[in-house]
């Protein structure tokens, strides 16, 4: 089982790096969907010590339905309606963002080495993976121009937080977990509506068109 779990963590980080290098939006959305599916699997793999199995199943199925199916579907609909396929000229190029992402992974390992967990360790890769994924998400949001890519970045960021939440699956109250999934859904839902309007006003999903408010 342990090697399976290792494998999932590694794949999550590989997807982070892939996203930083990817210019095709379709491929990026599929990668985020796959990452969501991996997280749902992770919930099950890490649950060996959990007390409440029903709770774990709910979280896993919920994560799969929202992160791997529903949101990617919404995103595909958004890019189909706006007829866009590529991220044009990101603010930070693909190679530099890959390197920043790689540096993030290294730093995440260093950081988690420096901060010993107060709880019995769940898996040595958990904290570094969570931090690296959060870092990737931040990087995507600030370094890309397309609204769709920025939302993808936000989803990756949320995925990182979700990985970290696994540490607390046993002790965290139900409503915090429910809050994660509900708010994720709600955030993207509202973002989707906003994007729809951006689409109608500017006939593209380029947030550079949103640059008339400056000092």
């Amino acid at each position: 089982m342990a090697s399976w779990t290792d494998m999932v963590f590694v794949l999550v980080v590989v997807i982070d790096l892939f996203l930083l290098a990817s210019s095709r939006l379709g491929a990026a959305i599929r990668a985020v969907a796959l990452q969501g599916a991996l997280l749902s699997l992770l919930t099950l793999l890490l649950a060996s010590t959990a007390h409440d199995l029903g709770h774990v199943l709910l979280l896993s199925v919920g994560a799969f339905a929202i992160k791997a199916v529903l949101i990617p579907w919404l995103m595909f609909r958004a890019i189909r309606e706006a007829a866009i396929r590529r991220e044009v000229e990101p603010i930070v190029g693909y190679v530099p963002s890959m390197m920043l992402g790689g540096a993030g992974v290294v730093l995440s390992f260093a950081f988690s080495r420096a901060l010993p967990l107060p709880t019995p360790e769940m898996h040595p890769f958990l904290v570094p993976t969570a931090l690296a994924t959060v870092w990737t998400g931040m990087l995507l949001v600030v370094s890309r121009r397309k609204a769709v890519t920025q939302v993808l970045g936000f989803l990756v960021l949320e995925n990182g937080v979700f990985v970290f939440g696994q540490l607390l699956a046993d002790i965290m109250p139900v409503m915090v977990e429910a809050g994660v999934l509900l708010d994720l859904l709600a955030a993207v839902f509202v973002m989707g509506i906003v994007m729809f309007h951006i689409n109608r006003e500017f006939a593209s999903l380029d947030t550079d068109a949103l640059a008339s408010l400056k000092d």
Binding site: P118, F154, V161, L167, L168, P173, V190, V194, L210
Partner: protein, 476 residues
């Protein structure tokens, strides 16, 4: 009484979303505001017990912020009656419903005694606000709403990470394994210190984004510039105050864990940076609503400095929460009236507001004097208490910078405000039918009277409340 205050806005919010008639719908908003204010008044007379197993309760810090917001929301709801009547070309379904849901979310933040509940409520304030910023349905308000949503969502995601860190710090053997404030504070030194520190950083960045502290303020000028004045009042006098309350809650835990020095330094740095940045951007600002946004950055900075100084300054910060809420109400509502009467918010086009709007124009000037700390208005006293705290604690550098920034801001903001208020309004752009009326000029006038009254005489009950809030948050 607590469940009424919490749930009435939510129920009426849904009623507002379902109400068919555009003309009578704003009355639901007024009803919600009245019930909320009456409920809060009831809670002053007869404190209610905690609800939901102690997850929600009204303590002193919550009471300060919630009472202020209740008054501000009531003033805004009255103002909305006049405002929405003049804007009956626009469907106000989402606006009325959204404002009431926002009031519900803010009330939940004020009552939350559990950091998870607090986080969910903060998230809800963001979701409820984004469609409200888009009320004017043009490209500029869309840009503002998009920026607000994206920046706030990032902040909220980081705040959740911080909340997890805090939960983890108490998850060790013997730890509280809880996110209830009381449990965390009781556990205090038992919490894992490195994780408390990391949690404070993430939560300060996360909720600091909602407060609009520099350098996390980038959404603020756009959102305040494009949103209706009434929403600007509720954002800068309500939502940001609640974000400050959230930071104060986290500070409470951090202090109990013995990491107060670190947290204070971080708060002082961000607070002074916010004041400095506001001073720079306020000078030469050509858009008077964006200028108010930088004033909001400044006042969030003042709150952070007050909390960071500790000691008597913390009570001053809670006093300033009240003054910030009320005086921002005056400024934004008056600015909204001026904006509509001229159809412009640029200072090279708007002049002579005192002549064209005999109430709103002078109110804008009086609001400026109040908010920049001119005696005898109440913000002068709260800023004085904070400054006194700085010098009393021997923090000469902090006190000197605080004074310097206040002075620069007074000059910078004054130049813009005087341009708008003074002069001859002939030849300036004009839109007929948007003069002062009781419904639009009355509410800021009442708020201004409150600001003046609190400056002249601070009731004993309020002084006691500020002291109690400071005692809970900073033990001083």
């Amino acid at each position: 009484m607590t469940p009424v205050v919490l749930l009435a806005p939510l129920v009426l919010g849904f009623a507002g979303l379902g109400w068919p008639d555009n003309r009578t719908r704003p009355r639901i908003l007024l009803a919600g505001a009245l019930i909320h204010a009456a409920g809060m008044a009831g809670l002053w007379i007869l404190p209610g017990p905690p609800i939901l197993e102690g997850y929600l309760a009204l303590d002193a810090p919550g009471k300060v912020v919630l009472s202020t917001t209740s008054a501000l929301f009531l003033a805004s709801a009255v103002y909305a009656q006049g405002y929405l009547r003049r804007r009956d070309d626009r469907d106000n379904r989402v606006f009325v419903g959204g404002l009431l849901v926002l009031l519900f979310a803010m009330t939940a933040v004020g009552l939350a005694q559990h950091l998870g509940v607090l986080w969910v409520a903060i998230e809800l304030t963001t979701l409820a606000t984004a469609p409200l910023i888009y009320f004017n349905h043009n490209a500029r308000s869309l840009e503002a709403a998009w920026k607000y949503l994206l920046v706030s969502s990032l902040g909220i995601a980081l705040a959740l990470m911080g909340t997890f860190f805090l939960a983890l710090s108490g998850a060790g053997p013997g730890g509280p394994k809880s996110l209830l404030l009381a449990d965390l504070v009781r556990a205090g030194p038992e919490l894992s210190k490195p994780w408390v520190r990391a949690a404070f950083v993430f939560l300060l960045v996360g909720y600091g984004t909602k407060m609009g502290l520099a350098p996390l303020h980038s959404w603020k000028p756009d959102a305040y510039g494009e949103a209706p004045g009434l929403l600007g009042a509720l954002l800068s006098g309500g939502v940001t105050n609640f974000a400050f309350l959230s930071v104060a809650r986290v500070f409470q835990v951090t202090r109990a864990a013995g990491e107060a020095d670190f947290a204070c330094d971080a708060l002082l740095a961000l607070g002074l940076l916010s004041m400095a940045l506001a001073a720079v951007f306020m000078a030469g600002q050509r858009d008077f609503k964006r200028m108010l946004a930088y004033s909001s950055v400044e006042h969030m900075g003042i709150l952070a400095v007050g909390l960071g100084l500790g000691g008597s300054a913390v009570g001053g910060a809670f006093y300033h929460v009240v003054n910030n809420g009320l005086s921002k109400g005056v400024l934004f509502l008056a600015a909204g009236n001026i904006h509509r009467a001229y159809g412009s918010k640029r200072t090279d086009e708007v002049r002579g507001a005192a002549r064209r709007l005999p109430v709103s124009g002078p109110l804008f000037l009086a609001g400026f004097l109040a908010v920049t700390g001119t005696p005898p208005f109440s913000p002068f006293w709260s800023e004085f208490v904070i400054l006194n705290g700085a010098f009393g604690a021997g923090r000469w550098g902090v006190g000197a910078l605080f004074l310097l920034f206040l002075a620069v801001i007074f000059v910078g903001m004054g130049a813009t405000v005087l341009k708008v208020v003074q002069g001859d309004d002939r030849g300036a752009p004009e839109r007929a039918g948007f003069g002062d009326s009781w419904l639009t000029a009355g509410p800021p006038l009442v708020l201004m009277v409150l600001v003046l009254a609190l400056g002249l005489w601070l009731p004993q009950a309020l002084q006691g409340l500020f002291a109690a809030a400071a005692q809970i948050v900073a033990g001083s």
